[in-house]
């Protein structure tokens, strides 16, 4: 391979820096704004970080519903992840192991459903929840998040399970394991990366969802973080410091997960795991 000339190299690095600045600057600005007080937010403009104050976070956590929304988000996301994992593992595994006509239609339907835009599902689902008396509950939001995460889970895990040869569990079953035991002890550990990927992205989709939360939840104290933060825009005069603190706290778990689990993230993202 030929070495790049100095000029070439400089312009390549410059382009890469611009790309990274483009991707990262808004995140940087959100974080440093969240630590600024009113004076440095609105009067003394500087691109550099600082001053470093926690006032916005204190106001946000003590004077707004933010902690409640946080709890709601955690509950809904946790529920969504559990339901998604159980059901999608069962479907994906049985589809890869059963032989019957039309089973590809199941996978096809899942992929089709995965492409549904949230708003098209949210309206009829809300109507059904009203009929069932479940409207405006966190449970209804959890269930509606599953309409995105389940197809994703089946789709991703189908890809993982079909790569595990059936001999693996047949050998275990010859040795006296039941089908279920063979699955749990032999197949599941082999597909752990797939399971982790599905868990991460179910969490991500539920944590970041705004559309379903907007339609399903009307009561302020039942809102999740994205919808809750949005109501702050409507009701308060625009307190940018607090809004940026609120945004930073929503992004924080995602950024931390991304740092430690980036391998799974990149795999899932390349497979189209974030709908959109």
């Amino acid at each position: 391979m030929k070495e790049l000339t100095l000029g070439r190299r400089t312009s390549l690095y410059a382009l890469v820096c611009i790309t990274l600045l483009y991707s990262f600057f808004p995140i940087y600005w959100m974080i440093i704004s969240s630590f600024r007080d009113d004076n440095s937010l609105y009067a003394n403009f500087s691109l550099l970080p600082g001053p470093f104050k926690l006032t916005n976070y204190e106001v946000l956590l003590e004077l707004t519903d933010y902690p409640t929304w946080f709890t709601n988000s955690v509950l809904v996301a946790f529920g969504t992840v559990c339901i998604t994992l159980v059901i999608s593992i069962l479907i994906a595994y049985s589809v890869t192991r059963l032989q019957f006509r039309g089973k590809m239609a199941v996978v096809g339907t899942m992929l089709y459903a995965y492409m549904f835009p949230p708003m098209l599902l949210a309206i009829p689902m809300f109507s059904l929840f009203v009929k069932l008396g479940l409207a405006d509950t966190r449970l209804s939001l959890m269930i509606s998040h599953c309409t995105i995460t389940l197809p994703l889970g089946v789709w991703l895990l189908w890809g993982f399970f079909k790569q595990i040869p059936t001999d693996v569990e047949e050998a275990a079953m010859v040795d006296g394991c039941s089908r279920l035991k063979a699955f749990v002890l032999v197949v599941l550990p082999l597909t752990l990366p797939g399971v982790v990927t599905v868990a991460i992205f179910s969490f991500l989709l539920s944590w970041t969802d705004y559309t379903f939360a907007l339609v399903m939840i009307g009561t302020d104290s039942l809102k999740t973080l994205p919808a809750g933060l949005d109501t702050m825009v409507g009701t308060y005069e625009l307190r940018w410091g607090e809004l940026m603190a609120g945004s930073t706290l929503i992004a924080l778990p995602l950024l931390v997960m991304f740092m430690f689990l980036s391998r799974y993230f990149i795999h899932g993202l390349s497979a189209g795991a974030v709908k959109g």
Binding site: L12, V16, T19, L20, S23, F24, P26, W29, S33, F45, I91, S94, L98, V106, V107, T109, A113, M115, F116, P117, P118, M119, L120, L121, I123, P124, M125, S127, L128, V130, I143, L150, P151, K162, E170, M173, R179, L180, T208, Y210, T211, L225, P226, A227, L229, D230, V233, W240, S247, I250, A251, L254, L255, F258, S262, I266, L269, S270, K275, G276
Partner: protein, 287 residues
């Protein structure tokens, strides 16, 4: 094979649950679109195709459809051009590649609410950082989001910022599959960097390009949250496309049936794209 009956029953239950969760709401959406309803609790009246007739006669509908096409068309083209560029850059010989790739992916992970808020803060017409920077260059007042055109430009740029990493990642994966010998051979023949890109990289990336194009079309056409959060479809409905029209009809104008009809029509358009996708990429169990 043993244990098949267990598998069949598990499969049956799981599929029934999924059908209830996904197919039934889709069916219910269609049902709503044939009814006259002013709220979700009122008694439905079956009115056949009246909602569709009314919706199709509204100029609002056609404007929204047109805006949706402008929005999705522009964002898709920009995402693909930027995505190919970023992928090529991030694939070249640079230090700290994984870090650089990680940073380039970040926008894709952020909740849309954060992106909408942060950009509104950055574009604030008196103290926003972009406004302050523009001021240094002598532009004292920039009316971001006051005219429909400006608002549309802003939502397009935000969408491009968020969703380009999807394209970047897809092309990065595609680039790994391009055989290195092709480049070596081209270099021996004296091809310039641009010629190598145009005659080797691009043709090799064509299958990826088809997938990306279809998936982007399917998803961008029905984006709701980023536009709603940034402009609420305004100013003067200047950024209102079909999903926002459906939402407003249903929850603000209490025309549930018409809202459902709008959804059903977007759903038909969407299905056409999804069928094209399946035509090009049939599911293959063996691959």
């Amino acid at each position: 094979m043993r244990g098949e009956s267990v598998l069949y029953s598990i499969f049956g239950v799981a599929i029934a649950l999924t059908a209830l969760l996904i197919l039934y709401p889709a069916y219910h959406a269609l049902e709503l679109s044939f009814q006259d309803l002013d709220s979700f609790i009122s008694e439905p009246v079956w009115i056949g195709f009246d909602n569709y007739v009314e919706v199709l006669a509204m100029p609002e509908f056609w404007n929204a459809l047109g805006r949706g096409m402008v929005f999705s068309g522009t964002t898709i083209v920009l995402q693909i051009v930027l995505g190919i560029g970023f992928a090529t850059l991030l694939d070249s010989a640079i230090p700290a590649k994984p870090l650089a790739r990680g940073i380039a992916v970040l926008p894709y992970l952020l909740p849309t609410i954060i992106v909408a808020l942060t950009f509104q803060w950055m574009l604030d017409s008196t103290v926003g950082v972009f406004t302050q920077i523009a001021r240094v260059f002598g532009y004292n007042y920039i009316p971001w989001g006051e005219s429909s055109g400006a608002a549309m430009t802003v939502v397009i740029l935000l969408s491009v910022w968020i969703w380009t990493p999807f394209v970047t990642l897809a092309f990065l994966a595609g680039l790994q599959a391009v055989p290195g010998e092709l480049y070596e051979a081209a270099r021996v023949d004296g091809a310039s960097a641009w010629q190598r890109f145009w005659h080797i990289t691009l043709p090799q990336l064509r299958p990826v390009l088809t997938v990306v194009l279809l998936l982007r079309a399917i998803w961008m056409f029905n984006k709701f949250d980023i536009i709603w959060l940034t402009t609420r479809g305004g100013p003067l409905q200047g950024t209102e496309h079909l999903p926002i029209l459906a939402y407003r009809k249903t929850f603000e104008l209490y025309e549930v049936g018409q809202g459902a009809a709008v959804s059903a029509i977007s759903f038909l358009i969407l299905s056409a794209f999804i069928l094209v996708y399946f035509y090009f990429f049939p599911l293959d169990e063996k691959e």
